[in-house]
């Protein structure tokens, strides 16, 4: 097998990157109105529960997405400002608790 030219490889890598960039940009747009977990057969591929999931009668049949596509489903994903504030408080508490725990264990070591 002949030795590969790194410049030729880089050209291919750039092409792949360009293709994926286009696809990801398009995915962002599509995901405004169509759930990204909904496949081409309108089956839900999510591993979590969603209110739009329509469970079939039999276990073998796939779960169908029941979203009608007429509204921006992602508004349901947007965070409530109150939840944001709660999360912020929780993060700050996690950091404070960890700092206290570390300084207590440091004190123990020096004692």
């Amino acid at each position: 097998m002949s030795k590969l030219d790194p410049k030729e490889i880089q050209k291919r890598m750039d092409r792949i990157s360009e293709m994926f960039t286009d696809m990801v940009s398009h995915a962002e747009t599509v995901s405004q109105t169509r759930c990204p977990y909904r496949d081409r057969h309108d089956h839900c591929t999510a591993e979590f529960r969603c209110r739009n999931q329509q469970r079939p009668d039999t276990d073998e049949a796939p779960i169908v997405c029941g979203h009608n596509g007429e509204f921006d489903y992602s508004s349901a994903w947007e965070s409530n400002p109150l939840h944001h504030a709660r999360a912020k408080k929780k993060i700050s508490k996690i950091r404070d608790d960890a700092a206290k725990r570390r300084s207590a264990s440091q004190r123990k070591k020096t004692d």
Partner: protein, 249 residues
């Protein structure tokens, strides 16, 4: 000028006939696939179908038969992904199918990468990616992984619902330079901060640069958690990873 019938692979012929609508794209793809060897057309067809085990087997076989890595990349993987891109743009397939095709491409690249490495093309950096404990949303993370791999990063995917201990074990095992965490829910987002604190306790925090992302995450949250960076989407994730890896654009 080549004709559709000059393409040996029936599946590829059907894909072009059924899904391509723009005359210039039809012509370009007929020209392209008509000159591609049947073995490479098979790889492209399997990639379009998202069959990663078939791409895996055919790529391995092609290399064993003496096919050049660049031919497999050009005529199998990239040519197939070109059709996938068109189908996605035309709303004939959606994100789950695109991700399956990206996984199939990864299966083929698995055998190509060591050859590229021998030629002096190394991954930019190794990145660990996982969705935090309690969170099962993975599309955003998977799009980031697809982009990172496509941009030349080596990625270890830890999946969803990743515990602090799993992250720490993976840091020790894979020794990445970057770790990416995502969360889609405000309720699970604080777990990223918890994980960072666990990294400090386990004495591995200084071993990795931590980037965070996901719908509810903002730069402010990232700063509050003590992360090294925040990416709002998959494109920003790649730019951030390049910055953290010290790559100049």
């Amino acid at each position: 000028m080549a004709e559709l019938s000059d393409i040996a692979n029936e599946f590829i012929r059907e894909e072009i006939e059924e899904y391509l609508e723009r005359p210039e794209e039809i012509e370009r793809n007929i020209e392209l696939f008509a000159r591609i060897r049947p073995a490479m057309q098979e790889i492209a067809a399997a990639l379009i179908e998202g069959e990663n085990d078939v791409v895996d087997r055919l790529t391995q076989q092609a290399l064993a038969d003496g096919t050049e890595a660049l031919e497999i990349m050009d005529d199998g993987l990239i040519a197939g992904m070109g059709i996938v891109g068109i189908k996605f743009r035309e709303a004939m397939i959606f994100v789950p199918e695109v991700l399956a095709c990206a996984r199939a491409m990864k299966a083929g690249m698995h055998y190509i990468e060591p050859i590229l490495s021998d030629a002096g093309v190394e991954p930019i950096a190794k990145v660990l990616m996982g969705t935090v404990k309690g969170d099962l949303h993975d599309i955003g993370k998977n799009l980031c992984i697809m982009m990172l791999r496509g941009s030349g990063f080596e990625v270890v995917d830890l999946g969803v619902d990743t515990s602090d201990d799993d992250f720490i074990d993976a840091i020790e095992e894979h020794q990445p330079s970057i770790l990416g965490m995502s969360a889609l829910l405000t309720t699970t987002m604080p777990n990223m901060g918890k994980a960072i604190e666990a990294f400090i306790d386990a004495d591995v925090r200084d071993d990795v640069m931590v980037m965070v992302g996901g719908a509810p995450v903002t730069q402010e949250f990232a700063d509050d958690m003590g992360a090294d960076g925040y990416g709002k989407d998959a494109l920003a994730c790649v730019e951030l990873a390049k910055r953290l890896a010290g790559v100049q654009n």
